[in-house]
């Protein structure tokens, strides 16, 4: 106990000596600073040492920054190079075209004079992709919700794995399966649809077979795993706190999903659907095998026919002459533009909903 007042007395009176003792280290620091060639530090400064070290001119920080910048720039350079190449090849063919590129329904770029139009191809591309999404997305969301919120954990993981396997099947396999096996049942389905729902214009007369319906069904199966996996991940990330909040308010499982899970996952689901749409728009060989390769704009999805930009490129590239290749490249540019528009739209949707979303309850 005797120690304590002694120590506190020192602390109390120690103020002056401590303040005075700073004189010397400060002077020392000034000397050190001068010696290391770092002027501009006034000697009366508190806090000993030689001042702050200078920023290094070339450190790991700068090197890494440069590397990432270079990587980012490379992407832009590659895209620009591809765009320039495509445009350079496409322009001569477009000049030589004697019909309207946008409205002519046909593809004869190898003839003299060349005649070709993108209208029917772009129409078929968009129609088959939209139909595929229309069929795939509800099923995919159902599977995703089942896997994330209903299935027992082990079953959910197993099923999720199987779905992911579906994504690994090459598209040519889907195409061949669609053309050789699936076409029969789809033709029967087409006849049935035409009989009972023929009054709806899209379910028109035959002949049935390699139709937009077949193509988009195959596309739907191919898009399914992407949309399912991504949505499942998004749904799984719903904060437990929000799910419990809904349950504690007396929500059933489905009401909890509607109140907490779906609104939370909406931006992610939009992104998943857009990725699926991207795959459907760019799908080549499966559609080349299952569509009828005609060049007419028709809303009758049952009739043999239909075509898409990518499938047309695959079908016609081998036989194309110079103008023909230019025409196909021009169609590729249009596909590029469509994809760009889709992606910008998706970004806009996500951005608009980013800060605030209207109620989903």
């Amino acid at each position: 106990m005797g120690d304590t007042p002694h120590r506190s007395a020192h602390a109390g009176t120690g103020g002056t000596p401590v303040a005075m003792s700073h004189e010397r280290p400060a002077g020392a620091s000034a000397r050190v600073a001068e010696r290391s060639g770092n002027p501009g530090r006034p000697g009366g400064d508190l806090g000993g040492g030689g001042g702050l070290p200078r920023a290094r001119a070339f450190g790991a920080e700068r090197a890494f920054r440069g590397l990432t910048l270079a990587a980012g720039t490379t992407v832009l350079v590659i895209i620009a190079a591809i765009a320039i190449f495509l445009i350079a090849k496409a322009v001569p063919a477009l000049r030589a075209n004697t019909e309207s590129f946008w409205t002519f329904e046909g593809w004869f770029p190898n003839d003299n004079p060349p005649k070709f139009g993108i209208g029917a191809l772009a129409f078929g591309t968009v129609l088959s992709s939209l139909l595929a999404l229309l069929m795939a997305v509800p099923v995919a969301l159902g599977i995703a919700l089942y896997l994330s919120h209903y299935a027992p954990r082990r079953l959910g993981n197993g099923l999720g794995f199987v779905i992911d396997l579906l994504a690994a099947v090459p598209s040519v396999v889907f195409g061949l399966w669609g053309r050789d096996y699936f076409a029969g049942p789809v033709a029967d389905l087409s006849a049935w649809l035409n009989t009972y729902f023929g009054w709806i214009p899209i379910f028109g007369d035959g002949p049935y077979g390699s139709s937009i319906l077949l193509g988009s069904l195959v596309l739907a199966i191919m898009v399914l795993p992407i949309v399912t996996s991504l949505s499942r991940e998004v749904f799984r990330q719903t904060p437990t706190a929000n799910e419990e909040a809904a349950l504690a308010l007396g929500a059933t499982r489905w009401e909890m999903i509607r109140t907490a899970v779906l609104p939370y996952g909406r931006p992610g689901v939009v992104a998943a659907v857009m990725l699926g749409l991207g795959r459907a728009l760019g799908e080549t060989i499966a559609l080349a095998l299952t569509l009828g390769s005609t060049y007419a704009i028709s809303f009758n999805i049952l009739q043999s026919g239909g075509n898409s930009i990518a499938a047309n490129i695959a079908n016609r590239f081998a036989e194309a002459n110079d103008t023909g290749r230019g025409a196909l490249i021009a169609s590729g540019l249009v596909l590029f533009a469509i994809t760009l528009i889709v992606n910008i739209t998706a970004r806009a949707i996500i951005y608009r909903r980013r800060e605030f979303t209207e109620s989903a309850a």
Partner: protein, 258 residues
Amino acid sequence: MAKRVEASNVTAYYGGFKAIENINLTVEPKTVTALIGPSGCGKSTFLRSINRMHEVLPGARVEGNLTIDGQDIYDRDVDVTAVRRMIGMVFQRPNPFPTMSIFENVVAGLRLNGVRRKSILEETAEKALRSANLWDEVKDRLGKPGAGLSGGQQQRLCIARTIAVEPQVVLMDEPCSALDPISTLAIEDLMFQLKDKFTIIIVTHNMQQAARVSDRTAFFSIEKTGDPGRLIEYDNTQKIFSNPSQKKTEDYITGRFG
């Protein structure tokens, strides 16, 4: 609007782990009851058993008898969503629905119950927000996201959301542990007002808080890690904090243990 909660021999498990054992406790209507005790002693587990939120976790189950005004809530014929509507819950961290506005958050429970008419929703929202002492702060921005409020406001929003469905009992699981002292004070004031209408059971780690807000206090404890939590002492708050009858309780509230 307030009911008696009676627990007899309540035992709760997480899979094979017994979290609480043989809890016997009666909570009177229109009182605030605090559950205190060291971490892992099963206070929250017991609280979550009262509105059947415990069983939400995979493998979790409850044994024993829990009644609200004599009605067994674990009865086979009882609808679990009806139980949770009758016994509301406020969680440790404020959890407003992030995609909903302030207004939609408050009426979320009503909408789940099928209330659609706008006038009823608006009336109830105002009433609930006033009861939660939040109305004046948010009345001009009901359409703004609930997640944009401060932590204390969010927690009061969650309380408003809970009482908007007019439960009989309100459970609070450490409602102030994520809040600053001023927000904490606001919520404690709120509890005083709410006990006129509701039976309130609150889990808290803050013993001053238990002493300030509660009428009765239940002290839970465990022998050692891995043992189930037990109810050590349950009495009037004043008695627990001034003259507890159990040595363990005294050790805990004087800070010698836990």
